[in-house]
Symmetry: C2
Subunit: 247 residues, 2 copies
């Protein structure tokens, strides 16, 4: 009899999404607490025995979580001293997971600003490279993304995903592995642009035409034009975001 594969029918208060692996969940929770400032750099975490007891998990699960955080530069462990939060300069701020932990609670305005600055540096250059190296498949992916974006508008999740996908495709078309790694960071900035704009109900400017200009330049192989078009796009996005933030 069709055993429910997914039934969480108990009286439990609905948990979030998939709890996934235990160590992952612990890492996420602790990581979010760190990047949000609940645990500040220099703070010493409660020792493994107590911590694992409090969380009702085994010490090994807790330790694996700590290893994850350490791998991302958030904490450092030493015998006798314990595990302490590392100075912010060592955090891997561009790691996708770290980024996502940042955005679990609302990130600070200054952090968003810094991400935008990075975008402004990276994306125009990426667009120029993409104009030089894009292949047919990548062009098609960009085109499809923009079509979807136009259809769905940024009000739907599908539209927003298409937006991110476009920027992702541009990065990919640079054929530069390290550069492509920044995709998640760019994506995070893009996502929050939309969120802020939605929030203020200020959808005055339609971003799609700006995107098409970038696309056209990349398709035509015009590097400088692509760079400039992307620069305009990011500048406008930043302006919109800033306007929505202060509002």
């Amino acid at each position: 009899m069709a055993k429910a594969r997914r039934d969480e029918g108990g009286g439990e208060p609905e948990r979030e999404e998939a709890p996934g692996r235990l160590h992952g969940a612990i890492a996420r929770s602790l990581g979010a607490a760190i990047v949000s400032g609940k645990h500040q750099p220099g703070d010493v975490l409660t020792n493994e025995i107590e911590a694992s007891e409090r969380l009702q998990v085994s010490r090994s699960a807790y330790r694996e979580a700590i290893r994850i955080l350490a791998a991302k530069g958030l904490v450092e462990s030493r015998p006798k001293t314990g595990t302490r939060v590392s100075p912010r300069a060592r955090w891997r701020l561009l790691d996708p997971e770290v980024l996502s932990w940042f955005f679990e609670s609302e990130p600070s305005e200054s952090f968003l600003q810094e991400l935008y600055e990075l975008r402004m540096i990276v994306e125009p250059a990426a667009a120029a490279l993409a104009a030089k190296r894009r292949d047919a498949g990548q062009l098609e992916r960009m085109r499809a993304a923009l079509v979807t974006m136009q259809h769905e508008t940024l009000a739907t999740e599908a539209g927003q995903a298409a937006d991110r996908d476009f920027h992702d495709a541009v990065l990919e078309a640079t054929a530069n592995g390290p550069l492509f790694t920044l995709s998640s960071s760019i994506g995070a900035a893009v996502r929050w642009t939309t969120i802020f704009k939605q929030r203020s109900r200020d959808l005055a400017r339609d971003p799609v035409p700006d995107h098409w200009k970038v696309f056209d330049a990349i398709a035509a192989g015009r590097e400088d034009q692509a760079r400039e078009a992307m620069e305009r796009l990011v500048t406008l996005a930043l302006e919109d975001t800033r306007a929505s933030m202060t509002a």
Copy 2:
């Protein structure tokens, strides 16, 4: 009963300077094997029991190593399927440790090229930002680095460290956290420039004057000038490296 084993019964040449934590050593060894292509994306690693037995370590130590690699996007574990090497697009290529694993064996020429491309995008922009925001302490750090560099030349370790420190200080002076994160990547590229140049004994061009030009512009607060000076510096470094590589 085997007690804690630290002896070298097998004869594996692991005589480096890595007496650190065991899980860290395992992660490093496996990570290096992955980025060097010894284990290719899609490959399934031998299961935890066998792997830990072969390495003569406990399963927990091995698992913590795997967690580290997973946190850096190099592998993915699932029950029944096992742990497999992730597609390259998920690797955190800008993570300092991943980078260092890359450089444990000689990295491919194309990878170095990509890092240079990133440098060319990031560093000029960073220099411009630094010109706008640098404080006295950061300026002094840059100056001191260049003085050391001049004294020691790039033939000594101290001189090379000073070189990296200069570039690091510039990144720091941007007052942009995410951007500063790229310091290790830039540093890796800088380091290899020197290695290649040393190798070919072709120390024709003295890089110090180029550095001073960047410094002067940053000290003077001239953004455009700083950007251009840094652009020249990186371009020349790339040329030198390319020349040494083909030689």
